[in-house]
């Protein structure tokens, strides 16, 4: 796989949550940060440099792809991103169950799974990260 990957540097993250907001806005979730496909977790003890950002790693052998019975998850060879194809989805939640990292999210209101699609190769979250904790390279 030659495509670029998301890189997270926890030591640079300030949990400003710009990534979540950017994601939520760009994916039409009305800017609800809870609906973002990227999640920032603050350190339990609020220690600087100990925060973490969790986002889909577009795994080579992805649990979501494996679990989906409808072949609704498909990898774009150009960007390396695994896309969720709405028209193929049967909404069985198998993908959500199948991702061991929690990056396949279930949108209860829409009865629909969502996931990071690398914004077609130019992730918005990266652009809005003020500290460089998120990189796409």
């Amino acid at each position: 796989m030659v495509s670029k990957l998301m890189h997270v540097t926890p030591s640079k993250c300030t949990v400003c949550r710009n990534c979540e907001l950017a994601c939520a806005f760009s994916h039409m979730h009305g800017g609800k940060p809870t609906a973002a496909r990227i999640r920032a977790f603050a350190d339990d003890q609020q220690r600087e440099g100990h925060h973490a950002v969790v986002v889909c790693m577009q795994c080579e052998e992805a649990g979501c792809v494996k679990a989906c019975p409808a072949h609704a998850l498909w990898r774009n060879p150009e960007t390396g991103a695994i896309y969720h194809v709405e028209a193929r989805c049967i909404r069985c939640q198998s993908c959500v169950a199948g991702c061991p990292f929690g990056n396949m999210r279930w949108e209860a209101a829409m009865e629909f799974p969502t996931k990071c699609d690398l914004c077609d190769g130019d992730p918005v979250c990266v652009k809005f990260c003020p500290t460089g904790a998120l990189e796409h390279r």
């Binding site: 100990h50 969790v54 019975p69 028209a87 909404r91 198998s94 959500v96 169950a97 929690g102 990056n103």
Partner: protein, 251 residues
């Protein structure tokens, strides 16, 4: 690459590509009720009829279901000619008599200018229009718990003997892919009921939120090789665990 003429416009197509897909790519709307990308096309609802003409056979034209008709070089396709419109309307009138309460049926009937159904309307008719999406989804993609029973006018969708099925894993895919919301189910918290069978939804080991049914988790593990433990934790708790792992890695 081949070329067809779609509503008067030249359009490039791959040979064998279905006309419905071509039309949708070109932004042309064709009504469908039995089409779902997850399963093979069936040609059951007949609403996606279009008119095809071959210039080399003068005067020859035919209504075909676009969901199944492969594009061929030189084909002339009209997606909303008078015969197409008339036949779709005739089909919608029949559907209105059967399932007058099904939302997409009503919506299409309105679009096609049906004010009054010419047939006796079954006001208490169920919403199932026998599009076959649920059974195709269950049979081809999941466990095959439901199927179509009987034939002809008596055809209906059911589990074997209309009893709770041992094959059903409670994934709700049938109900959620149904275009007319004709499959009743309850899904509240940790209890889920469909086709007369009540399931317990496993609660997340971390926060107690509902995940999937134990039956579904077992089926995914067995058929897809995804470990059951990973499945019984909600996405948020799994993400938190991932975050914790990152933090551990970083220090």
């Amino acid at each position: 690459m081949s070329e067809i003429i779609l509503n008067g416009r030249k359009v490039k197509v791959r040979k064998g590509e279905f006309l419905l897909a071509v039309a949708r790519r070109e932004g042309i709307e064709i009504p469908t009720l039995c089409q779902h990308d997850a399963v093979e096309p069936a040609g059951a609802c007949r609403l996606c009829l279009v008119e095809v003409t071959r210039p080399e056979w003068e005067g020859w034209s035919k209504l075909v279901t676009s969901c199944l008709f492969p594009a061929e070089d030189g084909l002339i396709v009209s997606t909303d000619s008078a015969p197409v419109h008339k036949t779709r309307k005739g089909i919608l009138e029949l559907l209105m008599a059967r399932s007058p309460n099904a939302v997409p049926v009503r919506e299409l009937a309105r679009q096609y200018g049906i004010e009054q159904c010419p047939y006796p309307v079954q006001h208490d008719g169920d919403n199932c229009i026998l599009c076959d999406i649920c059974t195709r989804v269950c049979q081809n993609l999941v466990t095959g718990a439901i199927s179509r029973i009987d034939r002809g006018v008596g055809k209906r969708v059911a589990t074997p003997f209309a009893e709770p099925s041992t094959d059903c894993v409670g994934c709700l895919a049938c109900a959620k892919s149904c275009p007319t919301a004709a499959i009743p189910y309850e899904d509240e918290g940790l209890r889920r009921t469909i086709w007369g069978k009540t399931f317990e939804v496993a609660s997340c080991a971390g926060c107690g939120a509902p995940t999937v049914t134990a039956e579904q988790a077992a089926w995914i593990e067995q058929s897809k090789g995804v470990s059951r433990e990973d499945q019984l934790v909600c996405d948020r708790c799994k993400a938190q665990k991932t975050a914790a792992a990152y933090q551990k890695l970083a220090w």
